[in-house]
């Protein structure tokens, strides 16, 4: 109230206005708006946190060398800082890597103890096959113990030799995985033949000696093949291991790293933005297409993506026909009355039953009851060795469990879209002499396809994001074999599988190395959120369009 004149009139008016405002309840109106704003901000905040943590995960940040107050020199990437809180001083977190030398990937150091920050251009960061990252300075490259390049030439040599060494290592690994794996599978089959013959012969009967002999011969032949392959792969690995890079750590320790163990070698401080971008996308691509390494904390999540997709597709293959038929029954065939009303309430409520309850049902019914039964009948030889086939969690049981869980979604969406088909269209068809089924097949069903699709997509989104029932019906943290592959019969419904959601749970909840797992778990989270939210938004847009269309065409 700057002028004396206004002091006389303004306060009175202002008070009245405020009183009026409170009497009208405008402040409460705004506060209720605040509740909404809070909800929106929470969602935005959550997404922001995920994006903020996920996006920089693959970026090559500068490698910093720094002196600690106790005289130690540290080399690593600054990953976090924490301001002082209740007696603990401000701290800086460094990723110093070299796990096998220092026993700690990540260290917290009071910021005040750190001096002389610098970013040496020749600092090398190495992403290794195991033991996490390595930070150090390249001295020379050796082949069979003899130096082939040192000084500045060493870096070029390392980059030149690394792909070849990796390729050899990959080849050796492929022999181990595919060749030896196949032999193991064959040996297992041969042994099972014997067990199965024993079972046929009964407890006291003798196995046909001829069969015994063939199986023994087979086993001997396979064993020889196995030895051969092992020698081959060993030779390859040894050849690959001949090329080594010699590093010194900032502390002066010498460390030899075989190039086979080098996934990526880079000098972040010397990289141009362009190179950094290329590095970023190469790692992002590995994340999507690659296999997990280092107990899932590095590498890619391809098996998890693949498992999620296959499981979701299997689930929708089951849930779609069932949901649609049930909806048509309820809407078109059942006599509308108390019973149908009750059924409808029940189905609506089924959507509210906790997913873990479905998981328990899936475990008890599908896995132990149905799966155990199948094993008894079809795989007696394996069952007798306590090797369950279907009597343990697997992708089929997980998909069926989720199908049950999502069947209400499909039923409700289908019913809604059937109801939205204009009566005129239906009556027109009947009037032209079409039978009820013809009308449904040719008029009602095509018109409700977008609605059904909406339901199925929503069900898929739900299925992709669900974890609790999966973790007791077949999801594992690391599945060596994909549920779909090139070996007969191509679709392995009994296999356990990996899942993005469970991947997050496993890495977030029981990580072997929680700091190292953090970037991966956030990127996986971002991937899952994107997948689920996109599916949802797509389904909802589809439904909205559908609703508008029928609002216009209703008569």
């Amino acid at each position: 109230m700057p002028t004396p004149a206004s002091t006389l009139t303004q306060p009175a008016r202002a008070t009245t206005r405020i009183v009026q405002l409170f009497r009208r309840g405008d402040h409460l109106l705004w506060i209720s708006g605040g509740a909404l704003a809070l909800a929106v901000l929470l969602v935005a905040g959550l997404l922001l946190v995920v994006v903020r943590n996920a996006l920089p995960a693959f970026w090559p940040f500068p490698v910093t060398a720094v002196d600690r107050a106790d005289g130690a020199k540290l080399l690593g990437v600054v990953t976090a800082t924490q301001s002082a809180y209740k007696g603990t001083p401000a701290q800086t977190q460094l990723r110093v890597g070299n796990r096998e030398l220092t026993n700690a990937d990540f260290i917290w150091v009071p910021t005040a103890q750190l001096t002389n920050f610098r970013t040496p251009a020749d600092a090398v960061q190495i992403e290794r096959q195991e033991n996490g990252d390595f930070f150090g300075f390249l001295q020379r490259v050796e082949v069979k113990g003899l130096s082939v390049a040192d000084g500045s030439a060493a870096w070029e040599k390392l980059l030149a030799l690394q792909p070849g060494a990796r390729a050899l290592a990959t080849q050796a690994k492929a022999i181990q995985l595919d060749g030896i794996g196949a032999i193991n599978a064959k040996m297992q089959t041969a042994k099972l033949r014997l067990v199965s013959a024993q079972l046929r012969a009964g407890k006291n009967g003798a196995v046909d000696p001829a069969l015994q002999a063939t199986v023994d011969a087979d086993l001997a032949r396979l064993q020889a093949e196995y030895e051969k392959l092992r020698a081959e792969s060993g030779a390859l690995a040894a050849q690959a291991a001949e090329t080594q890079a010699v590093f010194t750590t900032i502390g002066g320790e010498v460390k030899k790293i075989p190039l086979t163990a080098v996934v990526r070698a880079f000098r972040p401080n010397a990289m141009t933005t362009r190179e950094k971008l290329a590095h970023y996308f190469s790692r992002a691509a590995e994340f999507v297409y690659g296999q997990p390494r280092e107990s899932n904390t590095e590498g890619g999540v391809f098996p998890a993506i693949f498992g999620t997709v296959v499981m979701t597709i299997l689930m929708s293959l089951v849930v779609t026909p069932f949901g649609v038929v049930a909806a048509f029954y309820l809407r078109e065939y059942a006599r509308q009355g108390l019973f149908v009303r009750l059924v409808r309430i029940a189905i609506n409520n089924l959507a509210g039953v906790p997913s873990i309850v479905f998981g328990v049902f899936g475990l008890g019914f599908f896995v132990y009851f149905v799966g155990g039964g199948i094993d008894q009948i079809f795989f007696p030889e394996k069952t007798s060795l306590h090797l369950p086939t279907f009597g343990t969690g697997g992708i089929l049981w997980a998909s069926l469990t989720l199908a049950l869980l999502t069947v209400p979604v499909v039923i409700v969406a289908t019913e809604e879209s059937i109801a939205a088909v204009p009566r005129g269209a239906r009556e027109g068809s009947l009037a032209l002499g079409a039978s009820k089924f013809q009308t449904i097949l040719n008029i009602v069903l095509p018109a409700s396809v977008p609605g059904i699709l909406t339901g199925v997509i929503l069900a898929m989104a739900r299925g992709a994001g669900e974890v609790a029932p999966l973790m007791i019906t077949g999801v594992v943290k690391l599945a060596p074999d994909l549920p779909l592959d090139g070996s007969f019969p191509f679709v392995h419904l009994d296999r356990k599988f990996m899942h993005l959601g469970f991947h997050i749970f496993d890495m977030g909840f029981q990580p072997p190395n929680s700091e190292a797992a953090k970037p991966m778990v956030f990127t996986t989270t971002l991937l899952l959120i994107t997948l689920v939210v996109l599916l949802n938004l797509f389904a909802i847009r589809l439904r909205d369009r559908l609703r508008r269309k029928y609002q216009a065409s209703a008569f």
Binding site: A35, V43, G352, V360, L537
Partner: protein
């Protein structure tokens, strides 16, 4: 029409119409059948889960395999010659110590013939007067008439042959002999083996003295030590038992007394003496050696154990904890199981009764023709051997899979061994053999409700007020922009929320708890202040924001309120909590602050529940007929007055059903609670610690639960509870909603 058609067309029309009708009828049938089938499948879930829990409550079954006279040379004392009974783990051999011949006799349970007889050398020149068999192993301790202790064991070697299958060959050997009281007969013995295989034994001698000691096979024998104070006992000592530490010893006399010793503390005199209404005629420890099982001459069967006393901490007097079905005659034998907290008692009228301590259940009863002389379990508890005083041996197959479960142990307070009072405890597995499984669902139910409560505490105001604002005050253009936000919220997988809440939010919240709690006040206050400030802004500026577009102004205000709260938080913490709220909570409320606490759960669960409550209540608010609103405005009510006095009361049943559905979701939420709490099954309502919910408990324990075991089935009970609870909530909400919809239609 058909008449005018050419015959071929008519034919085609006719056949095609027949085909159409056939298809139609088939389709009708198929769709009906599969529709009904799907509904049945859905019902099956409930039925199946229920069926899986039923065996828990079924009582045990028994089937008599044979009954026959004890073979071997007849003895004038009848059955009295068999001092202890046993069955091997394959249930192929029953054995007993024959006092007359001093040998172990083995009877095949398949051929019912005597298959072996092994004399114990130490019994060649004297007579066995007392014997005890370890309930865990086939090992025996025999007291003799000349005051010696004989350690012996029965062995069963199984060989597998492709032709004959399994054959079990019994054998026995004497391990050692120890002289306790030369020349004085031993009248009662008891022993335990500790983890390193040493024997801790206690014996009663005919001169009414007790000796106890430790015996190890590889060490030189040590002199047994007398237990003092027995000269002052009022009567003849009848039983003695000692625990596996050789410390806690109990003795009974024929003058209705029980004496308790702590040997390492006080060997010279009993620590306590207890009076009973009748003589104790059977006494032993249940497995784990912490609970006493007593059988009395009046037929009473009781379990006693130590409970912390005010003045004594380590030395605990015992108290009667459980009582079991009373027998109608004196108890003659009490045999604890070697695997669980069950035991079998026999009475003088021939009754054999199988009881379980934790659940106080009587699982089986049967009756012999004569007084029970001795009893034995097979190691797997699937067979029971009973010997009558008339020398008749009865071999019974027993199926007793879930003895520890009763409605009482699932939902009531149970006094577990080692606890001072009855309590609700969930602890499904433990380290030792003597572990008593604790299956109380109460802490889990309370945890579930607690999680849901804190979730709703945060979600209801945000969701309901948000929905009210959206439906009543918001500009439609803005609403289109807002909807995706809520949809994204609804679509967020709960594993993502749980992960962020547990790993990112919980540590963060710990450092800013006071500020966050202050936000509950600062955000509304700042918004209210903002309203006032807004009213004083120039008209032109205000008109730039469209009607119903206040949200654009409110959103920054929320951020300001949040910032204010966080800024004031440390100040408030200094003033009210002396600088550290965690310390304050610990000192003033006496609770340990946990990082993953109910406040974290409340906010995280809010993410899962808010969109549900929001959508349904928004629906309810929007469905209130516009006439109500118009009438209110016409009467001069403000926007808020109309919303609060007209819309909210009218739509309240809808809001109620929204809350119910939100509650149902919160109750069943698994991943969020699993990841964002410590999952400790404690019984506490404090917001500063965590919980374990029914759903999280299932997720944690079912992967380790063997199929069809007790834990497995108890987890099915938990699932059934969850199912019933959510189904009831949702059905109730659905009925309310339908009712409301009909009401609006009428308006």
């Amino acid at each position: 029409m058909p008449a005018t058609l050419p015959p071929s067309v008519a034919h085609v029309a006719q056949t095609s119409s027949r085909r159409v009708r056939l298809i139609d009828r088939t389709a009708n049938l198929v769709i009906r059948a599969s529709g009904i089938a799907i509904i049945i499948i859905v019902a099956l879930i409930f039925v199946f889960i229920g069926m899986e829990t039923l065996p828990l409550f079924r009582s045990a079954q028994q089937k008599m395999i044979f009954e026959q006279m004890l073979p071997g040379p007849a003895s004038p004392t009848g059955a009295g010659q068999a001092l202890v009974l046993g069955v091997d783990e394959y249930e192929e051999n029953a054995y007993w110590l024959d006092a007359a011949t001093g040998s172990l006799r083995f009877l095949s349970t398949t051929t019912r013939q005597l298959v072996a007889e092994v004399p114990l050398p130490a019994l060649a020149n004297t007579r066995a007067t007392a014997a005890y068999r370890s309930p865990v192993r086939d090992q025996l301790l025999v007291g003799t008439a000349d005051g010696s202790l004989v350690f012996a064991e029965a062995r069963f070697t199984a060989t597998y042959d492709e032709k004959a299958g399994r054959t079990v060959k019994p054998s026995a050997r004497q391990l050692a002999v120890l002289s306790v009281a030369p020349g004085i007969a031993i009248t009662a013995v008891h022993a335990r083996q500790n983890v390193s295989g040493d024997w801790l034994y206690a014996v009663v001698t005919a001169d009414n003295r007790i000796f106890s000691g430790k015996f190890s096979e590889d060490e030189p024998a040590r002199e047994p030590k007398p237990v003092g104070g027995t000269e002052n006992f009022s009567g003849k000592i009848t039983h003695v038992i000692v625990d596996f530490e050789g410390n806690r010893l109990f003795a009974t006399t024929d003058t209705k007394k029980l004496y308790q010793y702590y040997l390492t503390e006080n060997r010279g005199a009993p620590f306590r003496a207890y009076d009973f209404p009748a003589n104790i005629t059977a006494l032993d420890y249940s497995i784990g050696d912490s609970a006493l099982l007593l059988g009395l001459a009046d037929g009473a069967v009781e379990s006693w154990f130590g409970v912390r006393d005010k003045e004594t901490d380590t030395l605990r007097p015992v108290r009667r904890i459980h009582t079991f079905t009373r027998l109608s005659a004196a108890v003659t034998w009490l045999q604890p199981s070697g695997r669980d907290k069950g035991f079998v008692v026999g009475a003088a009228d021939g009754t054999v009764q199988l009881d379980f301590t934790t659940s106080e259940r009587t699982l089986l009863t049967s009756k012999l023709a004569a007084p029970v002389h001795a009893l034995a379990f097979s190691p797997k508890l699937t067979a029971l051997l009973a010997l009558g005083a008339d020398g008749v041996l009865r071999f019974t197959a027993v199926n007793n899979p879930h003895p520890e479960i009763s409605l009482g142990t699932l939902f009531g307070k149970v006094h577990y061994e080692g606890y001072d009072a009855p309590a609700y405890i969930w602890q499904s597995s433990g380290g030792s053999d003597g572990f008593e499984a604790k299956f109380s669902l109460v802490p889990l139910i309370v945890g579930t409700l607690k999680g849901a409560f804190y979730g709703l505490l945060f979600a209801i105001p945000v969701a309901v007020f948000g929905a009210l604002y959206t439906s009543q005050f918001m500009a439609p253009g803005l609403r289109r922009w807002l909807k995706p936000a809520v949809e994204i919220m609804a679509a967020l997988p709960s594993v993502v929320i749980g992960f962020l809440a547990g790993l990112w939010f919980a540590p963060l919240l710990e450092t800013m708890m006071p500020g966050t709690l202050l936000c509950v006040f600062t955000i509304p206050l700042v918004i209210a202040a903002g309203t006032v400030g807004w009213a004083f802004l120039p008209r032109e500026l205000r008109h730039k924001v469209p009607v119903g577009g206040e949200l654009l102004v409110i959103m920054p205000l929320v951020l300001v309120g949040y910032w204010l709260g966080q800024t004031l938080g440390p100040v408030a913490e200094r003033i009210f909590f002396h600088g550290d709220y965690r310390q304050w909570i610990f000192e003033k409320i006496g609770q340990q602050f946990e990082q993953r606490n109910s406040i974290v759960i409340g906010i995280a669960m809010g993410f899962a529940v808010i969109p549900l409550i929001f959508t349904i209540s928004e629906d309810a608010f929007s469905n209130v007929p516009t006439a109500f609103k118009s009438a209110s405005y016409a009467l001069g009510a403000s926007r808020w007055q109309t919303a609060w006095r007209i819309i909210v009361p009218t739509a309240s049943p809808g809001v109620f059903s929204a809350v119910m559905i939100g509650f149902g979701r919160a109750v069943g939420e698994t991943m969020i609670v699993l990841m964002a709490t410590g999952n400790t099954p404690i019984l506490s309502l404090s917001p500063f610690n965590g919980m374990r919910t029914l759903a999280a408990n299932i997720a944690v324990e079912i992967p380790e639960a063997p199929a069809n075991g007790t834990l497995y089935r108890v987890l099915f009970v938990a699932a059934l509870l969850l199912f019933a609870l959510t189904f009831a909530c949702n059905t109730f909400a659905e009925v309310v909603r339908q009712h409301l919809r009909e009401k609006y239609q009428a308006v």
